[in-house]
């Protein structure tokens, strides 16, 4: 195993920029790691080895002439609902197997322009909904990696790649990142165009980043949106509000870990208080789930009518159910979303971030057929607030536990600065050990 796959991407990018390491070496190290682990991990749908090595060679040649890019040589994976030129966008749906993208999604094109190198496509649950992908958890293959960005979470958690793109409509970036011991960032809604990304629910879908560290997420986010403040230092210990409802709904080992995290942040100088949400959490969840059900039904209805048998069971059932929702209550849900969102916005007049476990549990056994509990992530997809998970703990059976931080809408860079401070304060868990 190469040390290049184990170090934070930020360090390796800096070494490449100083010509201590080549892009070719970094890409090769990732490909070797994929060769060793992929036979049982099943994180990757396609690995375009030749194209990745060719791109690395071009970057190294330019580097020799003094041209260095902000993400020089950074290998990344792409969730298989996001277009990469020349590769199929299959979305876990067999009729799309030959659906080759003619151009990159803008986020992929932007990453390439910044010097990053796509290695290939990572597995997704079917159309980023809930029928599981074949991927397993890198910490324990009998457990789910989470979903829907299952391959992206597992690929980064297993250190086969330092960055993977994901999408989140309920909890599909943060939950797989947390279950796989990675960092997952879902910036503010519409932070980057979703062109070239298959939709699931128009008003809820977010692009997201999965990385090994919060600083790596800040490096990539800052480069993508040209905001160098994302990698700046947190100016002072933050004011953090722990939301009690989520701790109360957590499994005991997750609740105990959150208690420990709270104490360590406080010891480090943060002002940490416990609060309750200014509304009923179940109402917030109902609003999310209903809007999602209606939007998924609308997005997939025609295709389900045409190709029902090619789908797994989840989307056709969601379409059938969503088509029955009375429109007046869908509209009321959308009005309530605005009201509840403004109440959450007001919390940021007092606090820099909200804190809660990323999920109520550690990764459940795959035999249950679920990608885990979306309850703790979906509120922030509904409200469009930025959210990040840090891998801060390990449960009794060696599975990762994530800590989730929520920021003010539009203040992604501030959340990343705070997350980097928390990362230093809390430390991150060790990567998985393979037999």
């Amino acid at each position: 195993m190469s040390e290049l796959t184990q170090r934070p991407a930020m360090d390796t990018v800096a070494r490449i920029q100083q010509r201590q390491v080549s892009a070719h070496e970094w890409v090769s190290a990732c490909l070797d790691q994929i060769d060793q682990i992929e036979p049982w991990l099943h994180a990757w749908v396609h690995v375009d080895r030749a194209a990745a090595l060719r791109a690395a060679g071009v970057l190294d040649e330019r580097s020799a002439r003094g041209a260095v890019l902000p993400l020089q040589g950074l290998p990344f994976g792409v969730k298989d609902i996001i277009d990469v030129e020349g590769l199929p966008t299959e979305a876990g749906f067999s009729p799309y197997r030959e659906r080759v993208a003619r151009r990159d999604a803008p986020i992929v094109a932007k990453l390439r322009a910044l010097g990053a190198i796509p290695l290939g496509k990572t597995h997704t649950t079917q159309f980023a909904f809930s029928d599981p992908a074949p991927t397993v958890n890198p910490y324990d293959p009998d457990h789910t990696p989470g979903g829907s960005s299952s391959g992206s979470g597992a690929a980064v958690g297993a250190r086969t790649v330092p960055l993977a793109l994901g999408t989140q409509t309920a909890g599909s970036v943060l939950r797989p990142a947390a279950y796989c011991g990675a960092v997952g960032l879902k910036p503010t809604f519409n932070w980057f165009t979703r062109a070239g990304v298959l939709p699931l629910a128009w008003s809820l879908d977010h692009l997201g980043l999965i990385t090994q560290t919060a600083r790596d997420a800040a490096l990539v986010y800052g480069a993508l949106v040209d905001d160098p403040s994302a990698t700046a230092t947190q100016p002072a210990p933050p004011r953090i509000a722990v939301i009690d409802e989520f701790g109360e709904r957590s499994e005991p080992e997750v609740a105990a870990h959150q208690h420990d995290v709270r104490a360590r942040l406080s010891d480090a100088g943060a002002e940490v208080v416990n609060i309750r949400l200014p509304f009923d959490l179940d109402l917030l969840l109902a609003v999310h789930h209903l809007i999602m059900q209606v939007e998924v039904a609308e997005v997939h209805r025609a295709q389900v009518a045409e190709m029902r048998d090619a789908y797994g069971p989840a989307i056709p059932s969601e379409v059938d159910s969503g088509a029955l929702i009375p429109a007046i209550y869908d509209q009321k849900a959308r009005r309530l979303r605005g009201v509840l969102g403004r109440q959450v916005d007001a919390l940021f007049d007092t606090y820099d971030a909200l804190l809660l476990p990323t999920a109520s549990n550690v990764a459940p056994p795959r035999v249950l057929g679920s990608t885990g509990d979306r309850t703790f992530q979906s509120p922030w997809s509904l409200l469009g607030t930025p959210a990040i998970t840090l891998p801060t703990g390990v449960g009794a059976h060696g599975l990762p536990i994530g800590t989730q931080l929520i920021g003010r809408r539009g203040a992604d860079a501030a959340l990343l600065r705070l997350a980097a401070w928390a990362e230093t304060t809390l430390g991150l868990i060790a990567p998985p050990v393979f037999g």
Binding site: P106, F189, N190, W191, F192, T193, R194, A195, W202, S203, V225, D280, D282, L283, L285, A286, V287, H289, L290, Q293, S317, E318, D320, S321, A323, L324, I325, P326, Y329, Q331, K332, A333, R334, R335, L336, R337, G338, V339, G341, R342, G384
Partner: protein, 68 residues
């Protein structure tokens, strides 16, 4: 309509079940029972939530464009 007069979970469940049977037939309606029960719970919570007349317009309902 006051919140008190909004349908209960049970009333929404019956309404959805009836609609499913009419639209999809009894077999598919039965297969949807769990999802329809969830939808009924969500609908009842949303229906009962207080909201003043024209208090807030729909927010981010798909009209706002991408930023980049």
């Amino acid at each position: 309509m006051s919140p008190e007069s909004e349908p209960s979970v049970e009333a929404f469940a019956r309404l959805l079940r009836r609609a499913a049977e009419e639209r999809y037939g009894p077999e598919r309606a039965e297969a949807l029972a769990g999802r329809l029960q969830n939808s009924a719970r969500w609908l009842a919570l949303i229906a009962a939530a207080p909201l003043e007349f024209a208090e807030d317009p729909p927010d981010r309902s798909g009209l706002d464009g991408d930023l980049r």
